[in-house]
Amino acid sequence: MSRRARVFLAVASLLVGVSVLLPLWRIDLIAPQYPEGLGLLISSHKIDGLKEGDLGSINNLNHYIGMAVIEPDEIPELRFMRPVFIVLAVGGLGIAALGRRLPAMLWMGAFAVVMLGGLADMYRWGYDYGHNLDPHAIIQVPGMSYQPPLIGSKQLLNFRATSWPASGGWLLALAGGLATAAIFFPGRTRQGSGAPAGHAVHVPPAAA
């Protein structure tokens, strides 16, 4: 691997490492009664309210539509995602130090699997919360489900739900871009540092 590719891979690995300290995804909920908004921050190992008390308030409001309680302790992914990220980060650093292309490509594959798997999993949980509703729910709107979008904004009864990557999610996107550049645009010898971030922002978040 070229020096640049190794640096890119090392930085990508560090970003993956840092992302375990940051929220990956953010869901904002705005309603007429909630001009100040409610929100959730999804990290690799926990789900927090945007403000203290938000998770409880969201759960309490959700009981009206019969949505299951969001219980971070009962979501197994939150127990193993973080170790997976750390393994990826440490492994990536090791491969960057080693400087061989094949392990780097394997790492890239693993990274892609984890990212896409994570997004798919988040979608699955969102689908599950949004569709598996208590048949005794207080408010029942025929045909209505309450799955928040993965990315974007959607009106769910009185709430507008907006879902978007948070800081950790953007770092992962950047890591994906850097790793892609390291493998597919490794450079040769002493090229300037260029603008790797320029590549990264063009990578669709879904592909990150």
């Binding site: 203290e52 308030s57 759960n59 309490n60 309680v69």
Partner: protein
């Protein structure tokens, strides 16, 4: 003279009533300024969703509370219960708040609240606390401004009518509490005719900057006059407290005549730093006295009463160089120190002139011993030796003066019903506007501090008459907001006020609004009967007392069906609001409760006592419209005959379990 003044000032005022809203300035005579109704409306208009520029805290007078208003809109936001029970939210009825109203006279659930005082740092309003006096049963309360709740009430012993209170020093070292009525000190059975021999006044200095630990640092026993209002020195005069006295005649009957004989009464100048030194030097005495100190524990939010047994007392004779009298015409009410700390304006409520004393002249006169005799060992300074001059006001009955940031003073005139603006440096009158009607105190936001805002003056009027739609014989009280940014005062707004605001304080909203508590953290709730989740609720019997530990969350109580209560039981509802969300209080109302209802703030536990009177089924329900299913937020209590074998239990339908799990989070 008075009648000609009234004619001169009030008749144009009456005309203005007719023309109100059209062109105030045309009717206001000398106040003419070309301000149209729409100009005025624009100045006080706060667009929907926008915020007022200032908070105003107005005493409720005979309602014993504090009203919170916005300026310049005059919109009322809240009543803060202080000295009076407030069935709307259970203050003074709930077990947690009842101790707040304990006094050495027992439970006194009302008072007459006159003078709010914002806490200060370096002579500026700092927005931490608001203090207010209970005039009737002598008390001083401290209100926390992050919650706008009364946190502490200290009774003042040896006082009778805590009127001259709680005026605050520039770093909130003390609030003063002086007695209106002189009484025997200590109070005892004596002939009233022995007033001159046996009756005394007192001035207490209450430590104000130690929340939860308000205490009387010392009590100065004064001659048996009536003490009225006070104001602390500031800047160069920091360390002094000035207070007015009347009835220096020492009459004990028909005071309206007998206490109005002397041409001059006194402003007392008290050097409290010297008093501190005298106390430290052991010149004061510990005197037995019984008085209550009520405080709220921040972890449990339960009020507790402590009975104090002694007070530190001294007389001016014990501490020479601490107390002086400044002769002042006539039966003065207000005494006010200008922002520089140099000028002291007094308002002789039967006078036409406003005497202005100089602090530096007073110090020189004291040093030169320029005395005109003494009263009870207190040197009386010569009137001329402290006087800068007299404002030839042209009005009658000056009561109270506040200051702006441009060197002007604004004095209220009760009898001639007007505000007179005068220049402090020259004592010349520069403007006057009528007040509708009979203004008492006035308020310039920050006008009692070193940093007045100079935007508005607010008249707190005693008489309303024809200013609003009639409401039977009892009319609303009224405030009036005037613009003072220009050379002429301009009336912008009349707004009704609740109770009878005697005095008010106002502060820039920016000093308070971002520190408002939105809810109490459930995790920090250390109430002994808290239920932090529905799993922690329960019903227990202790002899004839049944404790119900309930939770409230949108939109149900848990448990909501309670059986096994027997006639003769006392039922204690301990309700915890599980919400951790802004603006979601829940209420509790029980059919036929002889007590009150409750409002329970999010994360808070409150206890309401209920003694059922008859056998049968009693509904209880949430009284604060909390959610779309508020109307479903109800429960049933079953009250059985004494000795029946209905087991005590509280139940909740299983379908509520989802919500319970939600509540846990």
């Amino acid at each position: 003279m008075a009648s000609s003044l009234i004619r001169r000032r009030l008749l144009p005022a009456a005309a203005a009533v007719v023309l109100a809203g059209v062109a105030y300035s045309c009717a206001g005579g000398k106040a003419g300024s070309g301000l149209t109704a729409s100009d005025a409306a624009t100045r006080v208009y706060v667009a929907p969703g926008s915020y007022d520029e200032m908070y105003a805290f107005m005493s409720g007078g005979f309602n014993g509370q504090v009203g919170v208003y916005g300026l310049p809109s005059g919109r009322r936001f809240k009543t803060i219960p202080v000295f009076s029970q407030y069935p709307e939210n259970g203050y003074g009825y709930s077990e947690e708040t009842k101790p707040m109203l304990n006094t050495s006279y027992g439970f006194v659930p009302w008072d007459d609240a006159h003078h709010p005082a914002l806490s200060q740092t370096k002579g500026e309003d700092d927005g931490r606390w608001l203090f207010i006096n209970g005039n009737n049963t002598p008390r001083v309360a401290r209100i926390d401004l992050t919650r706008m709740e009364t946190d502490e009430i200290l009774e003042i012993p040896n006082a009778a009518g805590n009127h001259g209170s709680p005026f605050i020093t520039e770093n909130s070292e003390y609030v003063v509490a002086s007695t209106r009525f002189s009484v025997p000190v200590p109070n005892r059975d004596v002939p009233i005719a022995d007033y001159k021999k046996d009756f005394n006044g007192q001035v207490s200095f209450v430590v104000a900057n130690d929340p939860g630990k308000m205490r009387i640092a010392f009590q100065l026993v004064m001659p048996g006059y009536d003490y009225d209002l006070a104001h602390a020195g500031k800047g160069p005069s920091h360390g002094w407290m000035f207070l007015t006295s009347y009835n220096t005649e020492q009459a004990n009957s028909l005071l309206e005549v007998n206490a109005s004989q002397n041409d001059k009464d006194f402003v007392a100048a008290i050097n409290w730093k010297n008093l501190e030194a005298c106390v430290k030097a052991g010149k004061a005495r510990q005197v037995p006295a019984t008085y209550y100190h009520n405080t709220v524990d921040s972890a449990t939010r339960i009020a507790h009463s402590t009975v104090e047994n002694t007070v530190t007392q001294l007389t001016p004779k014990d501490c020479p160089n601490s107390t002086y009298f400044l002769p002042t015409p006539k039966s003065p009410h207000g005494v006010n120190v200008d922002p520089t700390g140099e000028y002291i304006a007094a308002g002789g409520k039967l006078a036409a002139l406003i005497p202005v004393h100089s602090f530096s002249k007073m110090i020189k006169a004291i040093e030169a011993k320029d005395f005109d005799g003494e009263r009870d060992g207190i040197p009386v300074l010569k009137y001329e030796s402290t006087l800068v001059g007299e404002v030839k006001s042209g009005g009658l009955g000056p009561l109270h003066t506040e200051f702006d940031d441009k060197g002007f003073a604004y004095t209220s005139f009760f009898i001639s019903s007007e505000i007179v603006k005068w220049k402090v440096s020259s004592l010349e009158v520069v403007d006057r506007v009528p007040a509708y009607y009979s203004i008492g105190h006035l308020l310039v936001p920050g006008g009692g501090t070193s940093k007045p805002t100079g935007r508005y003056v607010i008249a707190l009027n005693k008489i309303t008459k024809d200013r609003y739609l009639g409401t039977g014989p009892e009319l609303t009280q009224s405030a009036q907001l005037y613009d003072i940014t220009g050379p002429k005062m301009k009336l912008l707004l009349d707004f009704p006020t609740e109770g009878e605001p005697h005095y008010a304080q106002a502060i820039l909203a920016s000093k308070i609004k971002d520190r408002q508590v939105k809810y109490f953290k459930l995790a920090d709730n250390k109430h002994p009967n808290v239920s932090r989740s529905e799993n922690e609720t329960g019903v227990t019997r202790q002899g004839k007392v049944v404790h119900l530990r309930l939770t409230a969350i949108r939109s149900h109580f848990a448990p909501d069906n309670i059986e096994g209560i027997m006639l003769g039981d006392t039922v204690m509802f301990h309700v915890t609001n599980l919400e951790q969300d802004w603006d979601i209080p829940h209420g509790l109302g029980i059919m036929g409760n002889n007590n009150a209802e409750l409002l329970i703030m999010p994360g808070e536990t409150r206890t309401l006592r209920w003694v059922p009177q008859r056998v049968g089924i009693y509904p209880f329900y949430c009284t604060d419209f909390c959610s779309a299913l508020h109307q479903e937020m109800q429960g049933y209590l079953r009250v059985s005959p004494p000795g029946s074998n209905v087991p005590l239990k509280g139940t909740l339908s299983k379908l509520a379990k989802t919500a319970d799990n939600a509540a846990k989070k």
